[in-house]
Symmetry: C2
Subunit: 447 residues, 2 copies
């Protein structure tokens, strides 16, 4: 049954007030599909639909809805019912949702929630976003190293609800410090009387609360973990980051790279309003505009050359464009390479040396092609000026596209900020200076 058929069925049950039939239709429905269903349901049915759901189901729904719809659901539920739902939501998703709510409303919800639930989620909201603390959950089951497997499984069963989205059980000592980890698989394979301390994996890898989310993602990717424990300075277990949240981090970070490489500005998706999107894109564009005007003054300085050999203009956009293109290619290679490679002297020197060779090969190939075209079009000297200029600018453009992001990375800036358009604009300037510089010095031969 697809979403449309399900929606029709649900509307039917809502109209006929058949709560049990509705629940059967929703049985085993994944939260993602529940959210799709909610979006497909006409708004007039939303209130009734929510009233037929249990708190846990609404909690699952909320975790998959976008912010606008989350607010709509909370508003339809009212403070009381909302807080009951919040009490059973996974803390990391709850913290994300609450961070988007206004101050006064937030106070109301928090005071209506159960005391310990409220305290725990506020603790989570105190951590910086895009860090381990910002993406972890701080509600989890832990076991002591002196437990037997039987005791561990019993505790696991008692707190079953809290184990829904974690895949390992972390082991702590009497000071609450992290000492090991066991997986559900380990528990299934072990003998009931064995001690946890004997079957646990003690070389457990953990991360500090304030580490960047990109580094947590890299860790999970390298070690094929399903989750990573988060500890404070005293190695006390504070939370867990799970692989499903990490996948979202990967997508986020990839989007960010592309946004910066194209100077798109932060987070513009299909739903962003026109004015918002414009204001996010304009700063870069205006900056590039003023840098671009520099090219105007360069050309002004070469006015004499231009007036004498107007044909030079014909090749100008092509030379500037090609220089920008090769710079963009190099930039992309560097930015993505830095995601998986470490910034080591050897690696970097080999890379720069490789890019220089690439610049030369590309420069020779394109330079010769353009030389032939320009010679046929105008004259041999002309062909030489254009071809040689392209050769030089392509090498410089390639090197600029390689070195600028590396330097930015070394001094602590995000290399993707170097962005396609910035490198392109800088290469415009370089190429103009070189092209007209060469043309001017050979002017007597061109006239």
């Amino acid at each position: 049954m697809n979403t449309t058929q399900l929606t029709v069925l649900v509307i039917k049950y809502l109209r006929e007030a058949k709560k049990e039939a509705l629940q059967t239709a929703l049985e085993e429905l994944h939260p993602y599909d529940m959210a799709e269903l909610y979006r497909a349901l006409p708004e007039k049915h939303h209130y009734k639909f929510l009233s037929f759901l249990a708190s846990k189901q609404i909690a699952d729904l909320l975790m998959e809805l976008e912010q606008e719809l989350q607010m709509e659901v909370l508003q339809k539920l009212g403070i009381e019912k909302s807080s009951k739902v919040m009490d059973v939501m996974d803390n990391d998703d709850l913290a994300d949702m609450l961070s988007e709510i206004s101050e006064e409303k937030l106070e109301e919800y928090l005071s209506a929630m159960q005391k310990d639930e409220s305290t725990t989620v506020q603790q989570l909201m105190s951590y910086a976003p895009e860090t381990a603390g910002g993406i972890m959950t701080n509600e989890f089951v832990w076991i002591q190293d002196y437990y037997s497997v039987r005791e561990a499984v019993d505790k696991f069963k008692t707190f079953a609800e809290l184990t829904r989205n974690i895949y390992y059980l972390y082991v702590i000592d009497e000071n609450k410090k992290l000492v090991g980890v066991v997986s559900y698989r380990d528990l299934l394979l072990a003998d009931m009387n064995e001690k946890i301390a004997d079957i646990m994996f003690s070389r457990v890898i953990s991360v500090p609360i304030d580490i960047d989310q990109e580094e947590v993602a890299q860790l999970i990717q390298r070690y094929d973990f399903l989750a990573v424990p988060v500890v404070d300075d005293d190695n006390r277990l504070k939370g867990i980051v799970t692989v499903d949240d990490i996948i979202d981090v990967f997508i986020e970070e990839a989007n960010e790279d592309i946004e910066k490489l194209s100077a798109s500005g932060k987070s513009i998706d299909f739903a962003t309003k026109a004015t918002t999107a414009s204001f996010r894109r304009l700063p870069w564009l205006v900056l590039l505009l003023f840098i671009g005007l520099i090219t105007g003054s360069i050309l002004d300085g070469f006015e004499q050359t231009l007036e004498q050999v107007v044909a030079l203009i014909f090749f100008m956009p092509m030379i500037a464009g090609m220089t920008g293109n090769t710079g963009t290619q190099s930039l992309a290679v560097v930015v993505r390479g830095l995601v998986t490679n470490d910034f080591e002297k050897n690696t970097i020197l080999k890379l720069v040396w490789r890019e220089l060779k690439v610049g030369i090969i590309i420069g020779i190939t394109c330079g010769i092609l353009v030389f032939l075209v320009a010679t046929i079009w105008q004259s041999l000297i002309f062909g030489f000026v254009v071809g040689f200029s392209l050769f030089v600018t392509l090498i410089i453009g390639t090197m600029a596209g390689t070195i600028i992001p590396l330097v930015l990375y070394k001094i602590g800036f995000d290399p993707a900020v170097a962005s396609g358009p910035l490198i392109t604009t800088l290469n415009d300037i370089f190429s103009l200076l070189i092209y007209f510089g060469i043309a001017t010095s050979l002017l007597h031969l061109l006239i």
Copy 2:
């Protein structure tokens, strides 16, 4: 202990032939760290190091090494020992490694392996790469729906080794068709006498063998799965794709997007040779070069205008550049948006309408800025020509950057192929035509 200290220790044990001490040092070492250790170890120690390892440890090591080092290890081990290691490797990694080996050597390894191991991995190698079949493993434990929980756990214990990297147990009926799934957590929480059919999740989501890996990744991301079962046309269970392989898919696909957006050509990383990198980048560059030469002939057509108002040249690179920049921004938004959004008529129309408004806002803002600069620099009329041209070209550039990738997507091409440099070059042409067209029609006012 970091890699360097561990390396020193390992070399010491190798020299003193202390195999047990070495094994203790390597205890609980993650495969990723084992690979780091191997890379850090001087090559002269490699053979002895490998001889001190068990087959399973070498298998883990191979799964994390890059292709060059994998081949080195296999060569040092020889056919016999290699095939023993292959017998215990995870099938999906083994298939990947074997697909890089030459025909004759492959035959030798396959015949030296255990018969059923050899058959199973060859089955896996027959599937197309970058599909579910290409990234799945086909070695897994399954249970029947009529088992009791006790019987399921017993089977699980018997085949413990095969369950190392899967996180769910898939349930099949007597015809080997997929009917449900249970997690280890479900088994731990259940009563030993319950029937699997009663505790399993029957609305299990699966994928066909030939589905694109991007779609599998999208599924795992949406539903927060740890794994997805792969079935044939008769719904018979054929393999499992796990979340750790999916993370690698996300990184691969993000890299591809960036490579195409910047016309970098396929897979250039830090290690690629200069000649290879050049040949992957040149096709695009040469194509762009010839498209760029079109700008030359456009300018040739406007030669008269150029000779009369040379100052028009000054703003040319800036206008062309800005048009390219806004086009690149729009392109990035569309390409990333298509990853998570569905291509629906409503969404698309709203997007195009939004981009038109953005283009107008950006056009007005930048147009006014440039009008002021150009007026101060030259004259009011001049300022109008330049400002108005920029206004028009920015709108057209924004729309081009939005519509071209959407059209490409609709007719079945990868929108990222539209790539930054292509849109930039096309926008160069548009902007030149518009700029000089307007200037020529107002020429009498400018002279």
